[in-house]
Symmetry: C2
């Protein structure tokens, strides 16, 4: 698959050493990492590819997390999208083409890079890197269903952003990669970073501000176990419709309640208090009460999860997936069975449930072929 | 001062050992302590006094902390109220009398224990302990000005609650002491625990719920420095008027913004990120914009604090005190001078500023005379 590539323009190398994949991945070692974004700065010198091809992975993400609506999200392990990127002399220099999309919903996605999450993010990374002399060909392997509330578009964007960045020596910072992902999210589902942030950074991420972009990585303690039970029904919950269901005005008591639960949620994450995390995630009085009735059976699914021993349950993203929290994998499977049953009995919907750990790494290089 | 007291009724001792003062104080060793309150349970056996007199202290507190409105507060060191309590045979058994109130505003406070913060809390602790055979006499030393936004009523209630509990062997739990303090707060300034919680527990306290009462202690790292610059103007900001200024409905964007800042504030506390803490505290878009205009000069004071190097500034509690954040004591003094000047120039108000550390201990026994 690897294609040997000779750069037509010899780039002038910069003095700063390119960040390696390893360096970036080992960075979030503190409890809280605050990432502040400087103004967009294009690299003054064009980078040369260090790989002829790479394959990357970006995980599924659960955004909102109840009272964390629109500013909190986390990544889940073992579910996500892959992107392969290769230097392709047949692609116009400085541009990106999408050669293949595989997976169950491949046909629903455009191969036009300007209309594809992975393509938009890849183009933005190329632009930020200042790549003008090399064309890339992308192959997208969709592991995530579309419109499920698991950050499908963000996973594609994150995997593509990482893949392109890695090909050119991983020169962009984490925040620039998130900004590239945001460019994609903006086009397909709105300018929000609560999926693409954790898809790139892993773990829990709090979006503190957009102007400038500022992300706070909330480190869940390494020694603690955290499992997400994700029950996805066969139902479409369009983000637009789910957003239209939101209240425009919120009474002060509900504002204070949800804010305090958001604070409790952040505390529970940093402390590794899975029970507290579940209860906080389950406590939303503003968004979930409006959205749950639009997903058949959701109220019963939540009850079933709690009765099954989950510490909490809410809607993942804009739905329709329901997410429950536990610290025990076997119990998670039993909870998942109850949730699937409740979707069927109360919502008349077929559903599937999986139990997944927190993804603490985020988007990553899976394999690479050096030049 | 000590009066020798012989209990007229020999109490039956319980099997459980009474908690000592030391045990209670060393308890909050984890990053987050979740205190859940069981239903009110009166002790089945009447406790015997272990001291003839005690003297306690409870610190000033800063409630709200910007986006933490109505659910977050913290204690500040070196400012507060003292309460002396002694076994007094001249007081009707099971009752409390207030023998003395000292301090600048002593004359404004009632000596009727049913109408005094310290008295109400003391009576509630007596009731919870089941004390029927011993009368107590209280002496209150007000170190805090009234209505300043520094939790004056909570400090009196907390000091009294601790004093009475200690006299009888410190049998009540932290949450029961907070509930006793809440009884007092309810009567004088509303049923809110964001002052009395930290006044009793020290440090930062998040009020997660009231039914049941659930408090989350947020541990600011021991190795980090945190200073509060408290600038108190000669101005009355009645809590009732400040509460009437609040909006009843909040737009979704402001709700999301303030919630995210509340989350960022909690993260900054647990991580010891003083800069992040200051910025989050300074970011309120809901309450401060309504209340600041009611305190002459407040906007200028905030600007002056930030220009002076503070990481953030907001209204302490319902005001009129302004609170700024720094990690350097000397800089704190300079910031305080600027704040005082701004109150004078822009608000035509005389003000005083002090620089205080975070109080990490909360209400405590200062001295005691054993029986």
């Amino acid at each position: 698959m690897a294609i040997c590539y000779q750069s037509p323009f010899k780039p002038i190398t910069t003095l700063s050493l390119p960040r390696t994949h390893q360096t970036r991945k080992t960075r979030p070692c503190g409890v809280v990492v605050v990432v502040r974004c400087s103004k967009t700065q294009l690299l003054s010198t064009e980078p040369e590819p260090v790989f002829t091809s790479v394959r990357s992975f970006a995980p599924a993400t659960v955004a909102n997390l109840g009272p964390g609506f629109d500013f909190l999200g986390c990544a889940v392990d073992g579910l996500g999208d892959h992107v392969s990127a290769r230097v392709d002399p047949s692609v116009h220099p400085g541009e990106v083409s999408i050669s293949e999309i595989s997976g169950d919903n491949a046909k629903k996605l455009s191969k036009n890079p300007l209309w594809n999450c992975a393509g938009i993010a890849a183009i933005e990374v190329m632009r930020r890197l200042g790549v003008r002399s090399v064309g890339l060909s992308l192959s997208l392997e969709k592991g995530l269903p579309l419109g499920s509330g698991l950050g499908s578009s963000a996973a594609s964007a994150a995997a593509a952003a990482i893949a392109v960045n890695e090909i050119f020596g991983a020169r962009l910072s984490t925040e620039e990669l998130v900004l590239a992902g945001l460019k994609s999210e903006e086009k397909v589902s709105g300018y929000h970073a609560d999926n693409v942030g954790p898809a790139i950074m892993g773990g829990f991420v709090l979006i503190r501000s957009y102007q400038p972009l500022e992300l706070v990585s909330l480190k869940f303690p390494a020694e603690k176990e955290l499992f997400f039970v994700l029950a996805s029904p066969d139902f479409e919950a369009p983000t637009k419709k789910m957003r239209a269901a939101l209240p425009t005005e919120i009474g002060m008591p509900h504002h204070v309640w949800n804010s305090s639960q958001a604070g409790a949620l952040v505390a529970a994450v940093l402390q590794g208090d899975v029970e507290g995390l579940g209860r906080a995630l389950s406590s939303d009085k503003i968004v979930e009460p409006r959205r749950a009735p639009l997903i058949p059976g959701m109220a019963a699914v939540k009850r079933a999860a709690i009765e099954g021993g989950a510490f909490g349950c809410t809607i993942s993203g804009a739905g329709p997936t329901a997410v429950a929290i536990t610290d025990d994998e076997a119990r998670g499977r039993a909870i998942g069975e109850r949730m699937v049953e409740a979707f069927m009995v109360e919502g008349k919907l077929r559903a599937e449930a999986v139990v997944r750990r927190l993804d603490r790494v985020g988007a990553r290089l899976v394999s690479s072929i050096p030049r």
